[in-house]
Symmetry: D2
Subunit: 290 residues, 4 copies
C-alpha cells in the first residue's frame, strides 16, 4: 500500500460517483494534494478541478478513488454525473493493476474481472468511522426531511424512533435537541436503559400501537405492521430509513392512507460535502495506517 | 365579544388563506366545533369540511376567521387557495357587521371600508403566544432549510446566528441540539451572558468577520456587510430570516458569489398544521378572555 | 464617574464579602489591574493579594467594591471572612467621599449615613447582565444540589419547575440536558407555548397535583400547597429557590414528612469564582459606559 | 433457576450492602413481592421492611440478593450498614445450598467455600443493562460533583472528558446539556467522528496539553500526565472516575498544587435509589429469562 506522503505527491484519481466525489476531490485539493477527476463532467462547480479521460487518469495517479457504491449492477461503473458508460471488463481492470484502489461496497466490482485479484482494493465503506459518520448524516437528513415534509412541528411532537443502533441513537439525540418528545423502541434491555437515561421514553416492540406524529424506522425488519399503523393519524408521517424491504408494512400503510417517505442514501443526497470530506478523512487514515 | 361557548355552538367561519386556515378549520372541528370554510376550494384534503359561499358563511357564523395576513394589498382578501377574488369594499364589510372577526395584521383590511369601525375585529397576530410560537416554528423551519440546502452537515459545523431575540434564542437551542458549534451575536450584555451560559459562543457585532459554514440572520438591519461576507467560503450558506430588507448585504453577497436563501413566512410554508393549531389555541384563548 | 482606564491605574479596593469578592479581586488582578483587599483575612488562597487595612484601602483606591449584599442589617458591613466588625457610621462613609463605590443591594448601606448622598454609589446587582448570569448560576447550583441530594437519578426522572422566568427557563434547559422529563408550570400563555416547543411539558398551576420526583420552586408565592404536596412520594425532593417565604407550604410538607431543601444564594455558595468574574465584567462595563 | 412468579411468592432475602440494597428491597416491595432484609439494621427509614436474622432469611427465601460487591476482602460479607460481621465460611455457604443467589462481583465470594459450587450464583453486575445504567449514574454523579466542587460554573466552561466509552459518552451529553464547551479525547477514529457530530470538540491524546477548567478522566491508564497537568490553572478541578490507579498523574498534580477529586462508586453514593431500582430490574429480567 502506498503511504500517505507518496500518495499526496503522485496524485489522486477520482472517478465517477455523485457530488460526494466532487467534494472529496475538493477536500483533497484543499489539503494540497494533486487531484484528477474523470466521469464527473456534468457535476456543478468543477472549476479548478482537472477533468481527464479514463486512461489519462489511470496513467497519472497511483491512488484511484471509485464511488460509493463503485457499481450498482456489477456491469457498469457508477457514473450518475457523466454521459459516459464505463463497462467493467478486463480492459478496465487492467488499467488499475499495480495501483491502490479505494471504493465503497467493492465486491461487485471485484467480481467483474479476475484481474482485480491482483489489484490492491480497499473498501472505505467497511471502516467504522465512515459508518459512524454516515449514521449521523443520515439522522440529520431525516430530521431535515421531517421538518420539510411533516406539516406540524417537531417541537413538542410525539416522535417514534424504532431501533437504537447508530442511526437510532443519533436520531434520538437530534430530535430531542429539536424539542420533540422522543419515544424509542429497542429489544436489548441495555438499550432501553440508555434510552430512558437520555430523557427519551423507552418502548418494547409490543408497545408501539399508540399514536405518534412522526415515525422514523431504522430497523430492517417489519416492526411497524398493520396494528401499529392503524393507530396513526392521517396527518402523521412515516420515514423509512432502513434498507429495502424496510420495517414499514407498505401495503397496510397504503390502505390506511398513511404517508410513507422512503429515505435512502440521505448522506449522499442531503450532505454530499460532509460525505465527501468523511471519505477523504477515512481514506487518508487508511493510507496512514498502511 | 362572544364567549367561547356560544362561539362553539354558532360555528366558526374560516375564510381564505393558505393551508394554515385549513388546519385551523380541522383543529376546531376536532374539538367538536361547527365549522364552515370558504375560498379554500383548491386546498388539498378538504373532505368533511363544509365549503360554502361567502354570503352563506357570513350568514351562518357569528365568528369569522380571516387569514394571516388578512390582505396583502389592502384591495383583495388573501385567498391563495381559491380562484375567487374577494374585493374589499363596503359590501364585503357589511357582511360582518355585528360579528366577531379575527385575523392577522388587520390594519389594511380595516382601512378598506369605514364599516369595519363597527365590526369587532381582533388581531390574533398581535398576541404574544402566537408570536412566541411562530418564532419556534421559524427556527425549526430554518434548521430544516439548512439541512436541506447546505451541502455539508450541521453536526460539528460553525453556525452563526445574528440576534438573540425570540427567533435567535430558539435557533441557538435547536442548532446546538443538532450538534452544531453555535456562535451568536447580540448587542445587550445580558444576552451575551445568556449565550455563553447556554454553551454557545457570544460575539459582539464587531467580531463577525470570521468564517462560518451556515449563517442565519434574524436582525432587520444590515449586520452582515461586505467585510463579514468577504470572510465566508464559497460553499457557505446564508439564510435570511428577517423581514425585508433583511440584514445581509445582497449586493456584496452577489459579487462574492455567496448563496443567500431568503426564508420568509416559514411557519406557514413549512409547518401549516402547527401554525393552524397555534391560531386556534390563540383565538380560543381570546374568546375565553372575552 | 471614573473611566475604566483611570480605574485600572489607580487601583480597585475590594472590601468584605465572601469568596466572590476574592475571585473578583483575582479576576481584576489577572487583567493587570492594581488591587487591594480588606476584611478578607480568613479567605483561603489569598497569596499574592495585598491585604490592607480599611483606611489604607480607602486612601489608595479611587474605586471601591463592596460585597453583595453590602450589608445585611444596615449596621455592619457584610464581612463573613473577617474577624473585624465594620460599623456603618459617618466616619466610615466619610472615607469614601469623592470615590466611586460599587456594591450589591446598596440601599441599606446608603441609609446608614447622610454622607453617602455625596458618594457616587452604583448597584451592580441592578444590572440585567448580572441578574441573567446569576439566574444561570442558580439553575446550575440547583441541578448540582438535586444530583447530590436526591437519592434517585435525574436521568429519566419527572422533574417539576414552577415558573418560567429567568431561573425557570435556565433550569428547564439544564434538567432536559441531564436527561430528565421536565414539566414546567407558568401562567402566561406565551410561556406555556415556549415550554412545549422546548420539549418540556407545559402545566397550568391547577394541574400540579400529580407525583414528581424532584420539584424546583422558583415562584415567590405559594404554588406548592397541601393539595399538590399530598400527591408526592416520601422519597421525592423539593428545592426552594424563591426568596422567603418561598412557594412551598412548609407546614404541609412537614406534616407529610416531605423533604424540603432551602437553597438561597446558590451563586455565591456554589459558584463563587463564576460570580466574582460576573461582578468584575459587570463593573467594568459600568465603568466603560461611564 | 426459579422463575419470576415463584420468586415473587416465596419472597426475596436482601442481605447486607449499602443504601442500594435498602432501595432494592423497597422497589421489590412496591411491586408486591414479599421481602426480608438482614444486616441492614443501621440503614435509615427501614419502617415496614421485615428485618430478620441471617438464618431466618435463608430459611424463608428461595432467592437471596447479596450486595455489590458481595464481599470486599473475600473473608466477610460486605455489610457497611450493620454491626454484624458475617464470616464467609462453609457454614455460611451451606445456608444457601439449593437457593438462587444473586450478587455483584461474586468471584471472591465463591472462592470462600467449595460449597458455593453447588449454589446457583448469578452476577447481576455482569449484565449489560446494569453496566449501562451505572455509566449514566456515574456521569450524573460526576456532573453533580463538578457543580458542587468547582468554584466556577460549568455553563460556558471548557470541560475535558478523556475516553468515549459508556461513561465518557454519557458525560459528554450531560455536560453539553449543562452548557459546557466539551472536549473529548479518544483513540478510535469512529469515536472522534461521533464526538464531533455531537457538537463536542474531538481531541487526540497528543492534543491534551491545553488549559481546561474541569477535567474528567474515565480512562484506566495514565493519560493526564505531567505535561498536560502543567498547562492547567490552579483553580481547575480534576475528577478521577476510572478505577485505581486511574489516569491522572497524582504525583505531578500534587507538586503542581492541582486539586484531584477521586470519585469512586458514584452510583451507590449519589444515587442509591436509582441503583437499587436498576438492580431490581436487572434481577427480575434475569429471573424472567430463566
Amino acid at each position: 500500500m502506498y503511504g500517505i506522503q507518496s500518495a499526496r505527491q503522485t496524485g489522486f484519481g477520482i472517478m465517477g460517483g455523485d457530488r460526494r466525489q466532487l467534494y472529496l476531490a475538493r477536500a483533497m485539493q484543499e489539503e494540497g494534494c494533486k487531484v484528477y477527476v474523470s466521469c464527473l463532467e456534468n457535476a456543478p462547480c468543477t472549476a479548478g478541478l482537472p477533468q481527464v479521460g479514463l486512461h489519462q487518469l489511470a496513467e497519472s495517479c497511483q491512488v484511484v478513488l471509485f464511488p460509493l457504491p463503485a457499481t450498482r449492477d456489477g456491469r457498469y461503473l457508477n457514473t450518475p454525473l457523466s454521459n459516459l458508460e464505463i463497462w467493467l471488463d478486463d480492459d478496465f481492470a487492467q488499467l488499475f493493476v499495480g495501483k491502490q484502489v479505494f471504493g465503497g461496497m467493492m465486491d461487485k466490482l471485484k467480481a467483474s474481472s479476475p484481474l482485480w485479484q491482483s489489484v490492491d482494493c480497499r473498501d472505505y465503506y467497511a471502516r467504522e468511522e465512515l459508518v459512524t459518520g454516515n449514521a449521523f448524516l443520515t439522522a440529520e437528513g431525516a430530521v431535515g426531511l421531517a421538518v420539510q415534509e411533516y406539516e406540524g412541528s417537531l417541537g413538542g411532537a410525539r416522535c417514534l424512533v424504532t431501533g437504537f443502533g447508530r442511526i437510532g441513537k443519533a436520531l434520538c439525540g437530534m430530535l430531542r435537541g429539536m424539542g420533540a418528545q422522543v419515544f424509542c423502541s429497542a429489544r436489548k434491555a441495555a438499550d432501553l436503559t440508555a434510552v430512558r437515561a437520555l430523557g427519551c421514553q423507552p418502548l418494547e416492540y409490543s408497545q408501539l400501537a399508540q399514536p405518534f406524529q412522526v415515525l422514523f424506522n431504522t430497523v430492517p425488519a417489519q416492526v411497524l405492521g398493520a396494528e401499529v399503523l392503524a393507530r396513526q393519524r392521517q396527518d402523521s408521517l412515516l420515514i423509512e430509513l432502513a434498507s429495502a424491504p424496510g420495517g414499514i408494512d407498505l401495503e397496510a400503510a397504503g390502505s390506511l392512507g398513511l404517508r410513507v417517505l422512503p429515505a435512502p442514501s440521505l448522506p449522499g443526497r442531503m450532505s454530499p460535502k460532509a460525505s465527501g470530506e468523511l471519505i477523504k478523512e477515512t481514506v487518508f487514515r487508511m493510507l496512514e495506517e498502511g
